[in-house]
Amino acid sequence: MNFLEIVRFEIDYRLRRPYTWILFAVFVAVACLLAMKVLVGEAERAGDLHANAPSLVGMANVLVSMLGLVISAALFSEAALRDHDTRMSSLFATSPITKTEYLAGRFVGTLLVNALFVSVVPIVLMLLMRPPFVKGELLGPFRAATYVQPAIALLLPNVLFTGALLFAVGVLTRRTLAVFATAAFVFLGGLMAEEYIEGERGLAPLAALIDPLGFVALSENWEFWTTHEKNTRPLHVDASFLWNRLLWAGATAAILLFTRWRFRMNVASERRKGRREDQKEVSRARFSPRTFNASFDERARLRQFVAIAGDSARELLFSRDFAVIAVLMVLMVLSLGTETISDDFRTPLWPLTQFVVGFLVSFLPALAMALLTTFYAGELVHRERSVGLAEIADASPVPDWIIYTGKFAALGLVLVTLQAVLMASGLIVQVASGHFDFEIDLYLRILFGQKLTNYLLLAALAMLVHVVVDNKYLGHVLVVICHLFTMFAARFGLHHNLLVYGRDSGWTYSDLSQFGPFLRAVLWFKLYWGGWALLFAVIAGLLWIRGRDRGVATRLRLARQRFGRRAAVATALAALIVIGAGGFIFYNTNVLAGYRTPFEADGQSAEYERRYGKFENAPQPTVTGTKLHVEIYPERRVVDVRGTYTLSNKTAAPIRTIHLFLSPEVETRRLSFDRGSRVVIADNALGHRTVDLANALEPGHSLQMAFDVRFEQRGFPNSDPNTSVVGNGTYFDHDGGGPVNHRRWLPLVGYQTSRELSLAQVRREHGLPPRPLAPSVLGSSSVGDAAGPETITFEAVIGTSPEQTAVAPGTLLRSWNDPSAGSGGRRYFHYATERPVRNTFAIFSAIYAVHRETWNGVVIELFYHPTHTFNVERFAKAVRAALDYYTKNFGPYPHRQLRVAAFPRYANLAHAYPGIIAQAEATGWLTKVDESREVDLASMTVAREVAQQWWGFQVVPAAVEGGPAVSEVLAQYSALLVIEKLYGMDMVQWFLWNKRVEYLTQRSKADHPEVPLLDVTNHANVVYQKGPLVMYTLRQYVGEEPLNAALRRLVATHGSGGPPFATSRDLYRELKGATPPEYHDLLKDLLETITLWDLRTTAIAAEPAGDGAWRVTLDVEAQKFRADGSGKETEIPMNDFVEIGVFGESQNGESSADPLYLRKHRIRSGRQRISVVVKGTPARAGVDPQLLLIDRNWSDNLRPLTVEQSR
């Protein structure tokens, strides 16, 4: 049969081409490498998870499918277009084969080849997932099904579905670009669908259905599994996944049928227009050649260059393809932009130019630009050959280097145009959101300065690759791989930016300090890579294909021939730049700034622990007083601190030896005591110093320690330059477990456990035993770390530039200008606290606008960047409301001022110090809040930081497990209460909903075992997600006032700011005191254990009960589970009070309807029937309608009632 012959020929043809096998090899290699990296990476990260866990392998297969899209695009586009491109169509059209035979033959043949490629991957994986490639301890038992199942359920069907789509597009559009664009869409669509739609609660099932790769359906059922489940449960093919496969099978059939219907074999000839011959008489004119002079001088060369560049650019830009691309880019920005301009916590931000541009250069658009760069580079290099003009063009008297530079310039023009398109769409986004402060110069600097440079570097690489590798598709694949390698180089152990093409030390833009400390380094790196790009250009010019000679030997010979003076000069210049810039960079990063690979840096921490960990429990004096004189030089990025500590011996025995930590990042110029001392150990590299006192410090006595430190950045580092002191927006702190980028510059007393390595895996790598308590920094706002709960008196004189304001804790005693000091004068501020505060403080210096008001004798000050006025009122209102509620319910506010200070967005967080709240530029200040649709996280963050003034600073948690329960959980609960007062219960419910989803999702991803709330240390998921759920459930059961009374008592007994320090058990005791006895079990479930419920309303009925009343009967099924740290669950008998609710018709949304009935009933394990009588027509009823008890399936709690049912 003809069909079989066409299939046979297709397969035969493919398999004979070496290109096919190269593609095959590259694909299998990259796919396996990627899959292994993902599998091993996840397993290493997550402790008990096996690298060959069935669900994990399943997910890795989705990645393979996505990678396979590129291969499918290449294969199917060739299959669809080969006959058209080689102009063989008419030979087939006149053969006695039917359309169906022809199309089906090509499709099936290619499909089989593609399926072959793809099936090899699981086999290779199966062989590789064992020692010595993967460490034995990361593997579970070998099960063939782990690899076979996803191949059958995922890989092969995906090849069929996507192949049909790509083939159809190729056949019907006859354009390669369309096929690749479709593949890109499917790829990105899969990614986006998961991100976007899953966020919207109700649409998750829809996403699962329409995702052609099955990614969403699979990850949906994976989200809430625990480690144990992931290791053992086979790929769970549930209903939504099957529907997805069925839907796509149907869609595939429809697509193929449509293709057959629309396809015309002889379209090419039909579409040909009749050639209108010139019907005039043939002219009898004689040809008499006119003489002219051809010129080949420099000006002519320039004209030729312009001609080539302009002509190539025009052909690329004024084509239908480009218009389509431009439109698609605009659409992409518009559709994603408004959603994606948000901070790390997905809160939308005002579309300031810095954020809009940030999106325009983020992963997705940058990837699109990279793909377009290689695409157009390929087009330019191969253009003449594709249209058959090559031999004419190649024989023309234009030198090779002009051809190359002309085409490169054309590519540059295309990139510029694309950036302009991006900029236009960015402007549209801003206008659409009502923001008209465009900051055009910022657009220009980032899009056309920074980013364009990056793309041009990539363009140089792409042109080189396309010239060297003669095959357009292979060239594309290689360039994409290079680009991906550049982006993920760190995963392969390449950290230094001199080694990875196109990379620089990174930058973040901030409205305060603009390009701040990053610019110089970035420019040097760009220059360095520019030298390489020049070298690439020279090589490409030498190897440029001209004429027929394609062989390697011939091209090398020609290259040698072409290497003339011009090439030599360019090469020399390139070498000069590379060596010069490279050397300068190396000097700065490695010599001056001390470059260390992450492993080396960790090694230092490990060494510190090894050498000095023995001093951990040595009795040390406590800091009780800090006096500082700080000089900040923002333009020079220098900070000088002269200070004195008062150290008191609060132990029962004399102290003879003092251990100190002096950060290696600062220059400690002086360290002395007011009595005789001797330095015993001075390890400047690791920062440890041990001092013996001539006379021991007696218990109860104090001494003075004076020091002088200077911070100055020397050279510039390979990445992450220090951002504590910048031109505008200086922020550095001390001893508060502060944000990542902030160093500890002032001396610290004692051995610092916080300097130790915390991640179990990293500790293993450096040969350290695991640390049980893992007492390291908890998130960004932790006040409960083990750094010593000292209280100090604080006083500081801070000098800074005359136009800046310095902010520090305490009352501002006075401020003055000193015009003679320094260049242009300096300004000074003198702060002092009125009562002792916890030993954590921060110092800010920037050009601020200030909002000042008074509440009840407390001065509230907001220090913000002058143009960031969006939320100043909102913050003030939140601070007032918080102070109001907390003083009424928990106790008085201990200070006379409360300050909120802004700092640049190098770290996106908020952090509390006594009397001061540090709020990052992009956290809160610039949040765009729509209270009708989402939680006012800006106000909530502020309220939480204010609450820390009670929970953390007055009530100080003890440095034991459960500490964060006292500080973080209570702070967040307090903030929620303020939100409830400001906005009502609905907003609280939204917040809790998000927390619930987050908690359950993150549970399954944790890299260490989960613990109950009372035992938390650095378990961020439990503290920040489960915490509020637990507290609000308690509130609903116990009542707001009794709960607050319990908290008040905690403040009363433990709120001195010093010992006794509160533990979670103290909190538990107070809470228990406020809880009625029938809920004591619940209290235990919520706080002392990890408990999950599964509640379902299985059936529901209602019948009139006379008098307008109805009797509603519910069948409820209930189960209760206790989970251990790894997620293994055991069912336990349940006998708890659970709310039963009946609701009437509601206008909008469930929770706004007032319940007809809402009361707690005793619910036991298993089935039970509950009957209630309500006044009013019921519409919905169910068990635990407010979702107070943590349940993984919450959609089955409530059931709707229709009036018919109740007849």
């Binding site: 012959e5 035969d12 004979r16 063989m88 039909e270 011959e277």
Partner: protein, 299 residues
Amino acid sequence: MPDLRIRDVSKTYPNGVHALQRINLTIPPGMYGLLGPNGAGKSTLMRTIATLQEPDEGEIHLGSLDVLRQKDEVRKTLGYLPQEFGVYPKTTAERLLNHFAVLRGITRRGERRDVVESLLRQTNLWDVRKQKLGGFSGGMRQRFGVAIAMIGNPGLLIVDEPTAGLDPAERVRFLNLLAELGEKSVVILSTHIVDDVAELCTRMAIIDRGRILLESEPHGAVGDLQGKIWRRVVSRDELAALEREQVVISTKLLAGRTIAHVFRDGSPGQGFEAVAPDLEDVYFSAMSGHYGAGAMAQS
């Protein structure tokens, strides 16, 4: 062997060009030449007969087969060598020919092997059968196209401008090949090279601007023009005058002087010598409207 009957076939392209205007032809088995300038409609007609294009009006029958409506049947006995075609550069001649042989219905392997071998020998490609088609010269590719067209001894063979680009020896060989085939099938040779038609075709038609100007035997047409073609050598200035006075059907440059052929039923006068007409004269006479359908319309 059935005739090919073309009745009232017309085609107008969307851009307004009247490619074919009421074409009426009956083509018997044998070599049939279709002569005409570029843009005359030859290729359109060829493609229509080859089942690749639909006319706006008209009927075409090959024996009892309705060419327009029974395309699949026609393709079983059709061989088509297009004016422009390409091949898969990376496949060998033997393999691709084999593939098409299967598609054209020669499914039995032994039979197919024989057919492929004989075709390759006939087109003189046997020695290069294992070479990749990408390395073939223009002439070789043309011969390969003929080999494909000749698979299965088609009853209708259409070749569109086949000899353009062939060297003299190749051209002769090619035309001989076609002639052999013409003994048994309908072979339509569409060309603008007059000599091809003169040497081979038993019948011919001249087509211009979508209309048939002349349909006859080449031999007969040449005979018709006996005594009507005159020759004169003129200079450039004289030519303009000559064109005004006489019907100049063609001019040629020869060593700096112009040789004009004039059409006249009877001597134009002094300085003209009679010439034995050839098919080229027939062509030019028809094209200028002085012989054939155009002439009939005129008189």
